[in-house]
């Protein structure tokens, strides 16, 4: 209820601001809604949104699985940590734009280049989070699993994974928000479709209603995915913790 109220307040402020600044710079909510409906009924909105979501899904999955595996290895094996650390620092500090531009130059303006560039941007933070999680693993529980001769997979699933779950959730959440931002840049620079591409077009035409229509739809989708997917996963991962009074 409070959330709805807060959202309504946002609309009201927007409307007043639009009235004050004028429709050319900030179109009113109904004007944007109109563009949304037009784009949706022509199918273009779903096409671009779908293209962007597919890229996000692929890049996110790639970066999360690879990053988690590398992070776990670096947390467990000292040698891997020593070898990987300089690379990690380099990747962490490499600006997203550099990665995207280089990927397009080296691999051409292809889908693979775009997805790889997005994934590489997310990879180092996934590694760092998972490495911290692995370092924080409870040794005494490892010993327990070893004394009771639990098979490797069972021990990983029931002893290790639940301890990593909060880190995976944190990594997914921060990673997703990073990927949402970077995917638009990658699309703007070198893809013929997607929300980023549409925003680029709208920018060139100074078509603010179109720009807002696409960005707001995109933001809404992000919000839905956050509440329906990421938050329930976090809640599930933490369900055994005694609730705060």
């Amino acid at each position: 209820m409070l959330r709805l109220l807060s959202f309504a307040l946002f609309l009201v402020i927007w409307w007043i601001a639009a009235f004050l600044v004028g429709g050319a710079k900030l179109p009113s909510p109904p004007a944007v809604l109109q563009v949304m409906i037009a784009e949706a009924s022509s199918g273009a909105l779903f096409l671009h949104l779908g293209a962007t979501l597919a890229r996000v899904a692929l890049a996110f999955t790639l970066a999360m699985s690879l990053g988690s595996a590398i992070g776990y290895l670096m947390g467990r094996v000292k040698l891997a940590d020593r070898l990987g650390d300089p690379w990690l620092i380099l990747l962490l500090n490499l600006p997203a734009l550099v990665v995207i531009v280089l990927a397009y130059i080296w691999a051409g303006l292809t889908e693979a280049a775009a997805i790889a560039a997005i994934a590489i941007n997310k990879l180092p933070t996934a590694i760092v989070t998972m490495r911290e999680g692995t370092r924080a693993l409870d040794r005494s529980l490892d010993e327990m699993a070893s004394v009771f001769a639990m098979p490797r997979w069972r021990a990983f699933r029931h002893v290790v994974l639940p301890q990593l779950a909060p880190y995976i959730a944190a990594s997914a959440r921060s990673g997703l928000s990073l990927v949402w931002k970077i995917v638009l840049v990658a699309e703007l620079l070198g893809r013929p479709n997607g929300v980023g591409f549409e925003i680029g077009v709208a920018f060139q035409l100074f078509d603010t209603p179109r720009l807002l229509a696409y960005s707001l739809t995109f933001a809404a989708v992000v919000l839905v995915i956050e509440t329906l997917l990421v938050q329930p996963f976090e809640a599930r991962a933490n369900r055994w913790r005694p609730r705060a009074a």
């Binding site: 005494s140 529980l141 010993e143 327990m144 070893s146 004394v147 009771f148 001769a149 639990m150 069972r154 029931h158 002893v159 639940p162 055994w240 913790r241 005694p242």
Partner: protein
């Protein structure tokens, strides 16, 4: 089945670079059906010895002969339950072969029936200890290791749990290794007592107890304790173990 422990030494390198001797040469053996008790002052190296016997620590000099197929059930000093799994899941994960009947019986003996679906975070220390006991017995161990299972429990509860341990140990042929610093627990549960010196630990006395556990009444227990006190310069051991 027989467990032979022959540790010739264990040193520990401190962060400052010095070496500390944790264990002096320690040698003993245990048979199936026997309850061996390692009894010694806090910090004498009992836990280190256990870790070596359990194969968790390979950095020592000597040899441990333990049947490789022996199933181990262990009660750690702190319960070491998985906080994200329920009581029943905790037991079943360690003992996937346990039957429903056997599990119900264990939960009944240890009075855990009402707590099957609780998470360890919702349990008191006494209850968590009992879950750890249930887990150790559910695997139907060949070797049962109990590391101070009754520490920091009140006397009444400790007494009841001790009786339960005695019942469970008697119910199947198992080799038990109990670590404690309580002479009372040692005399009530043990068949053979190994008195350890302060760090670096070595065995200062090995005392078999002839009277079978189930016929030991309060008078016998008091007599054993008195003779122990006499035999091993009483006050020194009493001081070490209390």
């Amino acid at each position: 089945m027989r467990l032979e422990v022959d540790i010739t030494g264990k040193t520990f390198r401190s962060a400052a670079g010095g070496t500390h001797e944790v264990l002096a040469p320690v040698k003993f053996a245990l048979q199936s059906g026997e309850v061996g008790v390692l009894i010694g002052p806090s910090g004498c190296g009992k836990s280190t010895m256990l870790r070596i016997i359990l194969g968790l620590d390979h950095d020592f000099a000597g040899h441990i002969a333990r049947p490789p197929e022996a199933r181990i059930g262990m009660v750690f000093q702190e319960p070491r339950l998985l906080p994200w799994r329920s009581v029943e899941q905790n037991v079943r994960l360690a003992a996937p072969g346990v039957t429903d009947g056997k599990l119900s019986e264990l939960f009944r003996i240890l009075e855990l029936d009402a707590h099957r679906s609780h998470y360890p975070g919702e349990l008191s220390l006494g209850l968590a200890r009992r879950v750890a006991l249930a887990r150790a017995f559910a695997v139907e161990p060949d070797i049962l290791v109990l590391d101070e299972p009754l520490a920091s429990l009140d006397d009444a509860l400790a007494g009841r749990l001790r009786d339960e341990i005695a019942t469970l140990v008697a119910s199947r042929p198992v080799m038990t290794l109990l670590v404690t610093h309580s002479l009372d627990d040692a005399v009530r549960l043990g068949d053979r007592l190994f008195f350890l010196s302060p760090r670096p630990a070595r065995i200062v006395a090995e005392v078999p107890i002839g009277i079978p556990r189930d016929t030991r009444g309060e008078t016998e227990i008091a007599a054993i304790k008195a003779s122990l006190a006499q035999r091993t310069q009483g006050d020194r051991i009493e001081r070490d173990v209390s």
